[in-house]
Structures are given as C-alpha cells and as structure tokens.
C-alpha cells in the first residue's frame, strides 16, 4: 500500500480524484443529460426517449429564435458597456484616489451593501420607483422638467438594462479593483517621471495592466445577463423576451426536450463568446 502511494503517478491521480469526481457528478453529468434530453421527443404530457432533431429543427426554423437571441446579445452588450464604464471608474477611484487602506476597505464594503438583500427585491423595488405615478415621474413633474409622465421608464428595455446594470456592476468592480491593487505603483511613478500625462498613464499603463480584471468582470456580466430570465420578465412587464424566458416558457409547458435544446444552443453561444474574449487576454498568464 505504502509502496503504491509512493508511486508519484498514482498519488497524483488519487489527489486529483475527489475534485474530478465532484466535477464529473455535478457539472459534466448534468450537462450531458441536458444534451441527451435535447434529442428526445415530447408530447403534451410525456417525454419520450428518442434521437430526433425536431427540437433543433424547430428552434432554428423559427424567426422568433433569431430575434430573441439578438435581443439577448443586445442586453448583454449594452449592459456590458455600461457596467464596464461604471465599474472601471469606481475601481479606479478606490484604487488610486483613496489613499488609506482603511478607507479603501470601508468604501469597498459600501459597494457590497446592496448585495445583502435578494436580487429579486432589488429589482422589484425599481417598479414603484419608475412607474407612471412613481417617485421618478412625480419628482420630474414637480421640478417642471416634464409635463406628462414618462412611459418608457418602466416595462421597457430601458428598465431591463437599468436593473441589469444595478444588479451586476459589482461583478465588474471587484475583479478590476483586485487587479488594480496589484499594479506596482512605481510603474506609474516611472511613467510620470518620463513625462506622461494623466490620460496617457491611464491608457498606456493602467488599462493594459487591468485587462485580466476587465476580462473576468466581462465574463461574469455577459454570462449572468445571457442566462437571466426573471429580470427581463419583471422589468419588461413580460413584453420582451430573451433566451432564458424561452427556456422557462418551455419548462412551464412541460416541453423539457425543447427547453434542453434551447439551453444547449445558449450554452454553446456563451462558450463561443467566452472563447473569443479569452483570445484577447490570456487570463492564466496574467493572474
């Protein structure tokens, strides 16, 4: 036994085994099952094991699918751009403008306070705020900025993206802040000594060095937005759809194979997006 364990190859395998088993059981197996089910057939009540392409045929044959995927990308892209700008600014402020570590930690914790409540509650609390007779509209009217309540504030793409940005900006702040904190301050001093302006330092020194953080934040935000369905349902008043809602509708109607097929396509799409993102930055090297 001892002899066996001393064998490097075997002990290596043994040490990797627990994690491998956990991943195989809780990650690989469920995904394999989803793929398998996506080829099954469904009637209204029963799911029949089979190997048919009809779920995919229907999916790719319907113009709604393309519209909905386009919509999903739209939400992801706009949310990504906004969370990036806001997240980067917040992280930059925390990392380079706040001098003492105590304050850095205090302000950073402040950013996380909204996360102490459920994201459903954070999202739903926008509804009375943005409504036709909500606080936003009545304030604007009392200031005389508008005469009629703004209808597009609630149950619109604006509301959906607002909620996404609110919910997910922190996922941008944290990784960017983390990489910024590890930038060697002497590099910035060197740049300044060499005569670079503030903007040049930002563009040529800080941004390239924060790329891994930006990339991790991007992956978080893009995958979260692309996989969401409840935010879109509530904030658009059920009037817009993204891929997540297609899947949830299918599940509600017991069309598990069709839901699985949509999920497989969504999974592949997200993997492709992440694959492209990883082309720009080698996260493993930079970390």
């Amino acid at each position: 036994m001892e002899k066996l364990l001393r064998n490097k190859a075997i002990s290596g395998w043994l040490m990797a085994a627990p994690l491998t088993l956990v991943l195989a059981f809780f990650l690989v197996l469920p995904i394999v099952l989803i793929v398998v089910v996506s080829f099954w057939r469904a009637t209204e009540f029963s799911i029949i094991p089979a190997f048919v392409w009809e779920n995919y045929e229907f999916l790719f044959g319907s113009s709604v699918t393309y519209q909905v995927f386009l919509n999903t990308f739209k939400y992801a892209a706009i949310t990504w751009a906004l969370t990036l700008v806001i997240g980067f600014t917040v992280a930059y402020f925390l990392a380079f403008h706040v001098r003492t570590q105590t304050w850095q930690i205090a302000l950073f914790l402040l950013c996380t306070i909204p996360f102490w409540t459920s994201n459903i509650i954070r999202m739903i609390s926008w509804i009375p705020f943005l409504g036709r007779n909500g606080i936003a509209n009545s304030t604007l009217i009392s200031w005389g900025v508008i005469d009629e309540p703004l209808e597009w504030l609630l149950f619109s793409d604006f509301a959906v993206i607002l909620a996404f940005v609110h919910l997910y900006t922190l996922f941008m702040v944290v990784p960017i802040f983390n990489t910024m904190m590890r930038i060697d301050k002497s590099l910035i001093e060197a740049a300044r000594d060499a005569g670079a302006s503030g903007v040049q330092i930002l563009w040529n020194v800080i941004i390239p060095l924060t790329k891994p953080g930006i990339m991790i934040g991007t992956i978080f935000v893009v995958t979260l937005v692309m996989g969401d369905f409840i935010t879109v349902r509530f904030m658009s008043g059920s009037q817009s759809a993204n891929v997540g809602r297609l899947i949830s509708n299918d599940i509600a109607l017991l069309a598990y194979p069709s839901a699985a097929a949509t999920a497989v396509v969504l999974l592949l799409t997200v993997l492709i997006v992440i694959g492209i993102l990883l082309r720009f930055v080698d996260i493993r090297r930079e970390l």
């Binding site: 394999v32 099952l33 398998v36 099954w40 209204e44 009540f45 029963s46 799911i47 094991p49 089979a50 190997f51 319907s62 709604v64 519209q67 909905v68 919509n71 509804i127 009375p128 409504g131 036709r132 007779n133 909500g134 209808e151 609630l154 149950f155 658009s236 008043g237 059920s238 009037q239 817009s240 759809a241 809602r245 297609l246 509708n249 509600a252 109607l253 017991l254």
Partner: protein
C-alpha cells in the same frame, strides 16, 4: 442513458404508494384523525381557512399546495402520487383525465348530487339556456364507469370532477381613469387606452380573451372559440401582435398579484382580470369595476378530482370531504368572495340575507358587504357588477378551453410574447 425513463420511475413510486395504503385498516372513527389528504390546485380555492375548518368539522388533516395553472396541469399529468386530491379546472381535466391519473367518482355517494346546478350536469343553467362555446364543464364531467378514461355526454353516475367553484370573467376597468361607459370587449384594443391595457400571459386563457376581443371588433366570427383552427389562431394572435407593436399594452401579467398591482398603481386602466383581483383592488380603496360586456362572459369552472392511487380509508375520507364541501360552508365562503358554489342553495344557510341578496340575487346591499377576511367591499345601496347569478351565468359566451391545436397555439403565443 436513454433508458432512464420518467414513466418507469413513476410506476415504481406507484407500486410503493399502493403497498402502504392498501394495508390500512378500515376502522373509520378512530383512524380518521390520522388521515392526511394532500390537495393541490390553483390559488383560487386552496385556502387555509378551508383546511382549518376541515380539521374542526371532519377531524382529518388537509395539506394544501397552491400552484399556477401550468404547474397544476403538469403535476396532475405526471406525478399522480404526489397528491390525493386535485383541485383543478375543467379544461385541465380535459387534458389530464385521459392519462388515467384520476379516478371516477360514484355520484351515488354524493349527498347533494341532485342539487348541483345544471351547468355541471346537462350543461343547461335553466331549461331554456343555450350551451356556450369552449370546454363546457358537463362535456368533460362524466365518464363511462369506474374504470373509465373517456368522456360521456350523459349523466352516467361516474363523475370526473365534483364541481366546486366557478365564475364568469370579464374585463376589469378603472372607472375613475376612464370616465366613460365601457360595454364591449373591443375596448381592450381601443387606441384611446394605448399603453394602458394589459392581458394575461397564460396562453390557454389569454387566447379566449383575445377571441372575445376579435369577435367584438367585427374582424371574425369563430365557429368555436374554444377549438380554433391554425388559421384562426394566426389571425387572432396576428391582430394582437400588431397592437402590441403599436404599444397598446403596458405589460402582461401572469400571477394574480401582478394584475392587482398593475391596476392599483394606475399603470393599466383596462385588462383581463379575475374576480378576487377586483376585490383586492377595491379593498385598497381604489375604484375598480368588473365590467359586464355586451358580448358576454368568459367563464370557467373548477372541481375536485381524486388521485387514481387513493383507496381505502383515505378514499372514504375524501368522499366525506367532498360531501362536506358541497354542504354549504365552503360555498358561502367562496360566494362571499364573488365566486359561485356548485350547490348554491346549501350555501344560503351560511350567508346573511343581505349577502345572499347582493352576491347571488343581484339585489341592492342593505348593509355594508364585507369579504370573508373582513375588508369592506360594497356599501348599502350598491349592486354587484353584472347583477344576479342568472344574469351573469346566463350570458356566458365561452368556457375556458383546451384546443386540438393546443401545441401550435402555445408556440404562436410564445411568438406573441417575444414579438
């Protein structure tokens, strides 16, 4: 992998469940207190008050689970061992009954069977009534015998569901924000209410509301709204998709609370709505009318079905429960919320004369009308929207239904939501 089949798993579960229930001794009085019946259904009649009263009057425990219509259908069709009593609507019954997950009920064991209103027996409210379109309850109310999985037209003595609750639905409006009379379904798509209308996002019910609107607009007259052809479905959803693109709708709602919030906040002034939602808006002190419309009502009915695996003592308890249900207390409780009981005359014993007059006979209230939960709903002198039982149930234009082209309709509905 493909050999892991839900059916075989379920069958295994059924065998296990049968094994435990069959052995139960039949000593009624002593064991009844140990019986627990699991009931599930849509929120309308799954009320904790009913479970409490069952414990008081009958002694056994009733566990209630409330789900939305889609989940109820799914569960009744796929997990017959997860419940003892299914509290479902008749159109759900049409989908679920052929699976054999529910057992036929012997009407000779139902004490008040003879007093059940005609709608659930021969389809006629009064001898002169005509039968409305859609899945009328009596068409799926009877089966051929104790083993039947079919539907028969006549009163065969074996019921699929024992009717418990039903109502006539219409549009809800905010009279204070509309300021003019509304008397037709087509007002839902009137450009006057652009951005202030809503419809429910439950396909099987929403499509019926749509059909009422399309017919009222004069666009098309359906041979049977409850069973549309593909072309009719395309036409109906097409009209609504166009309206949606023009910004007619503020939002769609899926749950009861959403419809209440949309109406109470003034986001929406006209929408498809359910009776207790109107009550909920009113109890906040906000005016809201369940507007009777010239074309008539879209009606629905619900009943209690027994799981096929229910036997012995549990089944006796379930029959006891059903008899108690029709005995009047629940009926009165439901009628004071604006629903109707399948045996109205027994409910009368549990309502005051004022309540009976207001809710059933359509008379002016002689005193304040309160909900069973104590909220005031109407003052002396007011009458119920739509009038008496016979006025309301007498002008039903269609019943909630499930169509032959149901799957096609659902796909089209999803496209409508995504459009």
């Amino acid at each position: 992998m493909t050999k892991v089949n839900r059916r075989t798993l379920l069958a295994g579960g059924a065998a296990a469940a049968a094994g435990t229930t069959l052995g139960a001794p039949m000593i009624w009085a002593q064991n009844i207190k140990d019986v627990t019946l699991r009931q599930f259904g849509t929120g309308v009649s799954n009320l904790n008050e009913v479970a409490q009263k069952v414990k008081e009057d009958l002694g056994f425990t009733l566990e209630m689970t409330a789900l939305d219509s889609d989940s109820v259908t799914q569960r009744a069709a796929t997990q017959p061992n997860s419940f003892d009593i299914a509290d479902i609507e008749y159109w759900i019954c049409k989908k679920v009954w052929p699976t054999g997950n529910l057992q036929p009920m012997d009407t000779s064991k139902i004490k008040n069977y003879d007093k059940i209103v005609g709608i659930f027996r021969n389809g006629l409210l009064t001898p002169e009534s005509t039968i409305a379109q859609g899945t009328a309850p009596h068409t799926v109310g009877f089966t051929s015998g104790p083993e039947g999985t079919d539907f028969v037209a006549e009163e065969s003595g074996w019921m699929t569901l024992i009717p418990t609750i039903y109502n006539a639905d219409t549009l809800g409006i905010r009279p204070d924000l509309i300021n003019r009379p509304i008397s037709n379904w087509h007002e839902l798509l009137n450009p006057e209410f652009k951005g202030k209308a809503s419809i429910l996002d439950i396909s099987s019910i929403g499509i019926m509301d749509m059909a009422m609107v399309v017919e009222s607009m004069g666009e098309y007259t359906y041979p049977d709204k409850g069973n549309m052809t593909k072309e009719e479905i395309d036409l109906t959803i097409g009209i609504f998709t166009e309206a949606k693109k023009n910004g007619q709708f503020r939002a769609f709602w899926k749950s009861f609370d959403e419809s209440v919030n949309l109406m109470a906040s003034g986001e929406v002034v006209i929408q498809s709505m359910w009776s207790p939602a109107i009550t909920a808006v009113k109890s906040k002190g906000i005016p809201c009318v369940y507007q009777p419309l010239e074309e008539g009502y879209r009606s629905w009915g619900g009943g209690i079905g027994l799981s096929a695996s229910l036997t012995g003592l549990e089944r006796d308890a379930a029959y006891e429960y059903i008899n108690w249900y029709l005995d009047g207390w629940v009926g009165g409780f439901l009628m004071r919320q604006g629903y109707y009981s399948a045996v109205p005359e027994t409910s009368k014993n549990y309502m005051s004369e004022n309540e009976w007059g207001y809710w059933f006979e359509g008379k002016e209230a002689t005193d304040t009308i309160t909900s069973p939960f104590g909220d005031p709903l109407a003052n002396a002198g007011e009458v119920r929207d739509g009038g008496s039982f016979y006025d309301r149930m007498g002008s039903v234009a269609c019943w909630n239904a499930v169509m032959d082209e149901n799957q096609y309709m659902v796909r089209k509905w999803n496209e409508f939501i995504a459009a």
